[in-house]
Structure formats: C-alpha cells, structure tokens
Amino acid sequence: MTDEASKPAATGGLALRSRKGASRLVQYVLLQAVIAALCIVVLRLPLPEPPAQYRVVDFTLSDRDTTRTVALPDFLDTQFSVDEPAASYAGHFIWSTREAGRAWSVYLPRFTNGVAVLVNGVEILDSRRDPDANRPDRATPEIALIPASLLHDGSNDLVIRLYVWGPISGYLAPLFVGPDDALRPACETRTLIFVTLPMVFAAWRGILAVILAIMWAMRRHEPAYGALAAAMALGASQAFLQTTVDDPRHPHLNAALIASGPLESGFVLAFGILFFTRRWPRVLGALIFVPGMLLALIALFGTPQAVREYSVILGLPAVGVHLALLALIVAWSEIRRQDVPGLLLGCAVTIVLTSFVHDILSVAQIIPDHRLFFTRLSYSAMLVAIGAGLTWRFARALNRVDGFAAHLAIRLREAEEKLKASFAREQERERTAALARERTRLMRDLHDGLGGQLVSIVALSERGEAGGIGEAARAALKDLRLVIDSMDDIGGDLMLALGSWRDRVAAQLRPHNIALDWHAVPPGLPVYPELRPWHVIQIVRILDEAVTNAVKHAGAKRIAVSIETLKDDTGEPRGAITITDDGKGIAPADDAADGRRKTGRGLANMQNRAARCGAALDLISGSDGTRVRLKLPRRFPDGDAAAG
C-alpha cells in the first residue's frame, strides 16, 4: 500500500525535478546567449578616431630585400629579434607653413610589437623604451610631437620602423599625422581603456588579494578564498611587472609573466570548483596547474623563441579550457540551486569567454582584426566583481551574525524574565505552602495539647471535680506558652528555647519540691540554621514528657538536665540532652495496668516525635531511676514525614 502510493509520487517528483532542471537550463543558456550577443556588440563598437583627413595609409614597405606598396593596416608574419627592425614603412604627409603656429604629432593607435618613428630622417619616437607599449596584450597607443624645426612646407618624409618579436605577428594600424589637438583626444581615450583601466583593476585586485588572503588565513577550512587570493595576487603582480626588451637578462621575470595567465586561470577554476562543489578532485585538480608550470619551466630554461611558441600553443588553450570548465561548473551549480552570486559569476564567465573567443578569432584573422584584446580586461573586471561580491557576502554574513547575536540577546533576556517570573511565582507558591504547613502544624500543636486539656477542664468542671481542673489548666497554660515561645525567632539556637523551658520546668517542679539540677556545658548546643518552630515544639514536648513521667510516675525527688555537645563517630559535633531522675523507674516497674498503658503510649509518643526531628531517643529505666537521652541530628529534616 505504502509502496504503491509512494512510487508514483517519487517518480513524479523526479520527473518534476528533471523538468524543472531542464527549464532552468534553457533559461540559463538563453540568458548567457543574450549576454554573449551584447558582449559582441560592445566589442565591435568602434573606438573614437581623429578626423580622416589626417590619416596616412599609403606606405612603401621595405621588408629585407623586397620593396612593395602597402595600405595600412598591414600584417607582417615574419619574426625577428627585438633589436633588428622587421620592416620599414616609408610614406609622406603634407605640411604647410600656414600650420606653423600649431604643434603637429604622429599618432599610432595600434602596433605590434614595437615602432620607431622618423620624420625627415630624424627619429622622434621609439616605443620600445615604453614598457607598457611592449606588451602585445595591451593595446597601448603612442603619440609623438614632431619638433617644428623638422617640418618643412609641402611633402614631408615619414618612416615607421616596425619591430616584431612575437608571439603574435607584426601589425601596424592606420596612423595619423596632424595637429596635436586633433589627434590627442583619441589617443587619450585608448590610453584610458587599454592602459589606465587595467592598472586600476590590477590595484583593486591587489587589495582584494590581501583581504581574501586574510579571510583564508582566518578560515582555513574554506580554501576557495585562498585559491581566489592566489589568482588575484598573481594577476596584480603580473600587471605591475614590466616586460623588458631584452628578455634573456631576466628569465625569472619572463617566466613568471608568461606562466601567469594559465596559472591565474587555473586558480580561478580551482576557486570555482571549491566554491561551487565544495570538493577538491586531487588528480584532476593538479592537472589544472600543469600548463602553467610547464610554461614557467620553458620560460626559465628554453629559448625565447620556444617560449613564445609554447605560450601560444600551450598557454592560450589552457586558459580557454579553464574558462570553459568554469562556465560549465557555474552553469551546473546554478541549475541545481539558484543563487545570486552563482548567476553573477556565470554571466561574468560568459563575458570573459566571449571576449576570449573574440580575441582568438581576431588573432587568427577569422574576423576583422584590429589587434584589440579584451580578454584580460574583461577577466580583470570579472575577478574584481567576484572579490567584491565575496566581500559583500562576508559582510552580510557578519551582519547576520550580529543580528543573530542581538536576537539571541533578546531571547536570552526574554527567557531570563520568564525564568525570573516563574521563579518569583515558584517562590510565592513555596512561601504560601510553607505558611500553610506552618499554620497546619500550629493548629495541630494547639489541638494536640491545649485542645485536649481544655476539653478535660470542661469535663472535670461538669462532673464537679475541682481538684483536677487546676492541673489540667496549668498544663494547658504551659502548652500555650510552649507554642507561643516556639514561634519566636531564635536563630537556630536551641539553647534559647531551652532557657525558657528551664524557667517553666523550675516553676512546675517547685510546688512538688523536686530539685532541678541544670547542667549546661558552655557553649551548650550547636547552632542549627535549619531549625524550625515545629522542631522546637517536638523537642520541648519530648523533654516535657520525660519530666512529667519523672514527676507523676517515677516519684523522683531530683531531676537532672544535662546539655552538652558530643563528638559522634565521624568527629562531627552532635547535641545531646539528657534527663536523669532518681525515681523508681517507669513502665516495667509500674504495677498499675492503666499507668503502664499510659506511660507506654507516652514513650511511643516520645519516640515518634524524636523520629520526626531526625533525633535519636534512648531510654533506660530501672528501679534506681530513669535516664532519657535525646541525641540531636546533625541536621534537622526540612520536611515532616509523619505530618502527612
């Protein structure tokens, strides 16, 4: 029954989940396609150019032995060394003396790898001295003022020497010669986009690298932060390291630079794996870093030529594979559980991937090639976005912790108040119960003693037996005194209660001419902080009973009361009260059946009272007297077991 019922539900749930997953996949892919399309549109947007009238495109190219006419842009496949120009482009521009008041410049928007510019045979610019311009991944523009003394009316010679050292082929974009103020704005825009912006991103990444490294150091169980910090640090240092023209002199620097791309993308992929899957595949994980390490080794020990070749055939595919894997992981994670950071990262990866494909196609000259590379730029932006997003997430987590702490404090206060209230209630209840118990005991004590005695008085007076009335009334008064006396706060000092008792006993014995030997060994009895009035009543009643027995039944002439503190077996002080008389003994010696029964009941009563107080009573009676010894407990019991 349950199996049949649960099966369709399970398959139904599965189908629902897969359907949901499929729809999510479609949504995700569509979104990424839109983003890629937008990205392509943005990439194809034309950059601002100076007025076309200053454009110089027609040149005579001297490439070693051959000479031919070319129109810029021109690609030059041959590769040479840094020091030797690959080719020399000779052209002309017109300058008239009417322009004498304005400064003229030569503006080269884009070239690879290096240029030297000569006007009328005099060199005015060598880009190889500008480290930024030596990096093929940065589309650094160059602009150079032409000294006015070089210019002459009419046609002027312009020679561009192009230096090519790879890894990509030589390139020279259409250049401009004209008034400086007409050319410079376009140059500034390109500088901003292709030089300044990457530096800003790099600085930002440096800061994030520090933040993430600290975060990782504090939270070692989250290596994702460490991987991202490594990627950031690598990227930041790469941006600030400069390529030298004569690379063999700094092989380590060169190696680091060339390996940085694949290593960095490897770290980003590692971050993606750790962050989204929370697992680290040991073998495959190590493979991620193989291309980067290989490149570094080649850069350290190989020839410059080999380095350039391998950085293209090994480095670029590695970066591409890393990006593609990252895109897949993010997409997979996003379809499984949708969340904002994942979606943002997915879009960022799509942008970077689109830029990367665009750049590769552009280098391969499959699409029109302007030698403008956007991969690193978009990738820097992506890393900054990730870093900022993580920091934001971290701050939000901190806020949540704060909120949680505040919430906890509120809950704690609430709980505390509740507890206080319940404690107060409990205390009140306890107090009421204690009062009720106390009242019950007082009632019972009054009833036990006073009530019975008053009833006896009534009975005696009705029978006209005046003789017994006095005795009964005295007993009633004595008992009333005892009850009132026990209500007084004696602070646990039983001696204070016994002091009053002594007065009463002395008054009781005087008419009978019985001597009272009171022997208290200072300091008397220990103090019992837990002593309650009902304990006092029980103890005094026991003592009263003992004295009454001695007077009425034993016919004693002398009663001795001894109060002392003894040491028990464990060395603890224990109070003891002993009443000794010189009478003829009670119980067995008493020949009157009625008297025996009475004393028997009295003895049982005494034992009972002693037990209720936790005290031990032992009674030795013989023909030469009786000794009643009451050993007080170490601690008086709180509850009254016999009270019910």
């Binding site: 006396d485 002091g499 007065d503 008054a507 008419p511 009171w518 208290a520």
Partner: protein, 225 residues
C-alpha cells in the same frame, strides 16, 4: 535567695495591687496576704490613684490593660511621685513586649498571672531586697534587640546602647538557661554581683524624660500595645 537580715519584715511592706479581673485579683491578693504583706487592692486606674493620694506603697503591682486607662500611665505617675517604690507588672503569657515596655518606663520586675502563690510572694520579697527577676524569654527579648538587624524586630523601641558588653553577655547566659553561678563562672565574676547587674540593666533600659520627643515616641510605641 533568702531575704537578708536587714530587709523589712513582710508585714511592713505595703503593696498596691491593681488588677481588673476579679479571679486574678483574688488569687494574687490571697497569695500576697497569705505571705503576710500589707495589700491594698484596686480594680481601676481611678481607685489606684485615689489610694496613692493617701499613701505611697513600697511596691506597686499592676496590670497594664485597665478599664479606665493604661497601667503605663500609673507606672509613670508612680515613678514621678515616689521614686523609691518598686514597680512590678502583672504579665500574662507570651507578652515579653509588655514587660519590656513597662521596664522602659520604670518597672523593675514582673509576676506571671499563673505563678504559684509561693513564687508570687518570693518574687516580691526578692525585688524589695534589690533582686530584679528576669526570665530567659525576657532576656532573650532584650538581647535580640542588641543585635544589628536589617529591619528592627517588632515591638517597643528599646535603647540598648547603654548596656555594657558584660551586661549583654549576662543576658545571653540567662536567655540560654544558664544559672547565675554558671554565668558568673564563665564570665569570671562573683556570683553575688549578677542580680545587681540585672537591676542595672533594667535601670539602663528605662527611658528618662529627657525630651518630650523621646517620651512621646516611647508612649506611642506603648499605646500601640
């Protein structure tokens, strides 16, 4: 405990007995007359005052709750008019407060209503001989007021500041049921001096009319009884 030889004979001791409850009055009167004292009985404050006009007694023995006033007033008048008269109050049970209140206006002794006749006579005789009686409960009542309490215990205000540490030790001893001899041995003093100390304690607890404010305050405290 026996009266000293220079003590006056019982028949020379005049007693003014003021008690409104007839059986109690008979009982006390019988006990005192039986012992040979010269007793004048009064049932009200008015009768007592009328009796005082003719003669000041050696001993005033008065109840406190009287039909036409409070025994405290009578004690005050007596202290003023005849400082040598010994004043005792008649105490019911469990009213240490009443006794101590009477002490603060000048009483130096008390008698329990249900005391045996021989005890009643003996107490008067001892008081005349200069020995103030004191029970364990009275001692306890006084001594508890010498202790520092967060809130003062109920009952009349009692200025115990004048009591010496020795006197307080004696009170503790009495409250705990030790005999005068045991107290004296324990405190390293002569046994004969203990009763004198007790009289001195009573005197120190008496509030003399130093100022109306104190007097009124005490009176307020007493009237509330």
């Amino acid at each position: 405990m026996t009266p000293s030889s220079d003590a006056p004979a019982d028949r020379d001791i005049t007693i003014l007995l003021v008690e409104d409850d007839p059986p109690t009055l008979w009982r006390l009167n019988d006990a005192l007359v039986g012992a040979g004292f010269d007793v004048v009985a009064a049932a009200t404050l008015g009768e007592a005052r009328a009796s005082l006009e003719t003669r000041a007694p050696r001993v005033l023995l008065t109840d406190l709750q009287l039909p036409d006033g409070h025994g405290i007033e009578l004690i005050r008048e007596m202290r003023r008019r005849s400082p040598d008269t010994e004043i005792m109050v008649i105490s019911a049970l469990g009213d240490e407060e009443t006794v101590v209140s009477a002490i603060t206006v000048g009483a130096t002794g008390y008698i329990l209503k249900d005391a045996f006749p021989t005890d009643i006579a003996a107490t008067v005789r001892e008081l005349v001989a200069g020995h103030s009686p004191i029970s364990a409960s009275i001692a306890r009542f006084i001594v508890r007021r010498t202790q520092a309490h967060a809130e003062p215990p109920p009952g009349p205000e009692l200025n115990t500041a004048k009591l010496t540490p020795r006197e307080i030790d004696i009170l503790w001893g009495i409250a705990k049921g030790f005999s005068y001899a045991e107290i004296a041995d324990n405190l390293g003093m002569s046994r004969q001096t203990v009763p004198g100390h007790i009289k001195s304690i009573y005197r120190k607890l008496e509030v003399h009319t130093r100022g109306e404010a104190v007097f009124e305050a005490v009176q307020q405290g007493l009237i509330r009884l």
